[in-house]
């Protein structure tokens, strides 16, 4: 689109810039007047919250990196130096450490929102798949970040996770040696993990941009899961959803602050206060809470390669979710069976998390196998079949119908008659 923009901004400086580089017009279009379904509930806050969280992680991370030493002999002490000597270093680190947990809480709720309201269905499949890519990058970033303090859990977590790749035949061991840059997790590993932990968040920013760009092409889904029929179904993003998101941000910051200031180590592992020791594995080795369900899937399979495949598969299956779910109805509100079984799936994931936190023996092995099977059953059997068998409830004619009830039709409705959903 060559040619200068005809800017509508009154301020001469903004107008001058906007004419040559229409960023103000773009912001106005995408975040100002952007037509957004008017029936969002608070679950639609979590995308914005994730964006805020990503920014907090990048800012605190940059300042932590100024004081951190990615060297096996210095890393642990440099983290203690940050905690004790650097001005507000304790705050930066606790915000960054708990920020990772907050990020996963938000992202998991955001994903569940998408699943409950069918946000992954046509035409938002690619938007959803980009989201799964974001989840994978987040997981890699979080894992490598957890290695950096070089405590016992960092070291043994790194050893166990990198060894996952050794399960693959022939290429497995060369890949692990390549990942390590040596024959065990050591200084070269720590160096590259630091480098990648610094890089990946910026990759994440790029992929998030694509995620938002795709969202602004299709427009947002909404709790009813029906398409916007016209201007009567939308409100401008600003001030309506900027304000609603601000309410969410306040609650989010309160929860975040509670964690940081009152229970900063609640979600951490005491073993990580012990410097890494390559000659001794801690008695219980568990990942951070946000990896526990996947860890339980890994341990539930009594075969090395099988376990690794099941674990990776549990996330990769999300890529094809838009095609596994055969129901044309998006929102669980109008799917009487789905709206119940989705909670069974959630229970299975939570159950897997509990199993992952316990030692793999006795009842926990049995339970994690049952939950793993149900996890896959939900995606591979239930969703394809349910779409064919389930009888959905009648969909409302439009978003504004249930909102304004039987009252007078809003302006504009006459000009564009509502179609049947």
């Amino acid at each position: 689109m060559a040619g200068i923009t005809k800017s509508e901004f009154k301020n001469p400086l903004i107008n001058w810039i906007d004419t040559r580089l229409p960023v103000f017009t773009m912001m106005q279009k995408e975040y100002g007047t952007f037509p957004t379904p008017k029936n969002f509930n608070y679950f639609w806050n979590f995308g914005a919250l994730a964006m805020v969280n990503l920014m907090i992680m990048i800012i605190t991370g940059i300042f932590l990196a100024m004081n951190y030493q990615p060297n096996t002999t210095l890393a642990f002490d440099s983290v203690q130096h940050i905690m004790r000597d650097v001005n507000y270093g304790w705050l930066l680190r606790y915000v960054h450490q708990n920020g990772a947990s907050m990020f996963f809480i938000i992202t998991y709720i955001h994903i569940l929102r998408g699943m409950y309201y069918g946000s992954y269905k046509y035409p938002r499949e690619l938007l959803w798949m980009i989201g799964v890519v974001i989840l994978l990058i987040m997981m890699a970033t979080a894992f490598m970040g957890y290695v950096l303090p070089w405590g016992q859990m960092s070291y043994w977590g790194a050893t166990v996770i990198t060894n996952l790749f050794s399960a693959f035949p022939i290429v497995g061991h060369p890949i692990v040696t390549w990942l390590w840059g040596g024959f065990s997790v050591d200084n070269p590993t720590l160096n590259r993990f630091f480098s990648l932990h610094y890089l990946l968040p910026f990759v994440l920013v790029g992929v998030v941009f694509l995620h938002v760009a795709a969202l602004h092409i299709t427009g947002s889904n909404n709790p009813l899961g029906i398409e916007v029929k016209g201007p009567q179904d939308t409100v401008p993003f600003h001030p309506y959803y900027t304000t609603k998101d601000s309410v969410g941000v306040c609650v989010y910051l309160m929860v975040f602050a509670l964690l940081v200031f009152f229970w900063p180590n609640l979600l951490g592992d005491p073993n990580n206060f012990i410097p890494a020791n390559p000659l001794q594995t801690p008695a219980d080795i568990v990942p951070e809470w946000y990896f526990l369900p996947f860890y339980a899937i890994l341990r539930s399979v009594p075969n090395k390669l099988g376990g690794v495949c099941m674990m990776f598969g549990s996330i990769l299956v999300l890529f094809v979710l838009p095609w596994l779910d055969t129901s044309p109805v998006r929102s669980a509100r109008f799917r009487p069976i789905f709206r119940q079984v989705i909670w069974l799936w959630v229970a299975a994931v939570v159950g897997l998390g509990v199993c992952g936190a316990n030692k793999p023996e006795g009842i926990w092995v049995v339970l994690s196998r049952i939950f793993t099977l149900y996890y896959y059953f939900h995606f591979l059997v239930l969703l394809p079949v349910l779409g064919k068998l389930e009888r959905p409830l009648p969909l409302p004619e439009s978003i504004s119908r249930p909102v304004i009830g039987g009252g007078p039709m809003p302006a504009g409705a006459a000009a564009k008659p509502m179609e049947k959903a």
């Binding site: 300042f63 000597d85 401008p236």
Partner: protein
């Protein structure tokens, strides 16, 4: 979006005066701004010297090994500190200068501790562009005024560390220090 602008205009009332909504908006935005600034300060302050850096900000220097006419260089806060044991002739030459002749006028008395005329303690960084001047060892070039000579751009300092020949604009700076008994100083 006609209905929305109508709705917003409705809140403003017919008078277009200041409304409760304007007040709430102002309070909310300034609250957010103050909060962000407070949090912003923590990241800015994290770049200031940390507690361990501040903890090593004072050092003791034993003066007994420094013979007359000699100087030593010690490290303080990552900077070179010149400690020089001046000869009687050097003290006299530093004292006898007319202030009008100086680029950066200062008496010798203002640059030493009273009663310790033979000791001059300076931050050994040329005030031009930060090189370390030569002159602590008697064999070093000391310039025409017998003090220090900066090899980078030829600035010269006298035996009181005052600049006598440019391009340096200022005298060598003085670190904070105090005598602890007759033969020891604490810098910092």
């Amino acid at each position: 979006m006609a209905e929305h602008s109508a709705a917003i205009a409705g809140h403003h009332g017919a008078t277009e005066g200041i409304t409760k909504r304007d007040f709430l908006q102002l309070i909310a935005l300034s609250g957010a701004a103050i909060g962000s600034a407070a949090i912003g300060w923590t990241v800015v302050d994290s770049m200031n010297p940390s507690k361990d850096v501040l903890a090593v900000s004072a050092i003791d220097v034993d003066l007994t090994p420094i013979t007359t006419g000699m100087g030593i260089t010690v490290m303080w806060q990552g900077k070179p500190i010149f400690v020089r044991h001046r000869t009687a002739a050097e003290i006299t030459s530093a004292d006898d200068v007319k202030l009008a002749e100086l680029i950066d006028p200062a008496t010798d008395a203002s640059r030493i501790k009273a009663g310790h005329d033979e000791w001059i303690v300076l931050i050994g960084i040329c005030t031009h562009l930060g090189c370390i001047p030569l002159g602590n060892k008697p064999t070093d070039p000391r310039g025409d005024w017998g003090g220090w000579f900066c090899p980078c751009h030829g600035s010269q300092y006298d035996t009181s560390g005052r600049v006598r020949h440019g391009p340096a604009p200022l005298n060598l700076a003085l670190p904070p220090y105090a005598f602890e008994g007759g033969t020891k100083i604490m810098i910092g």
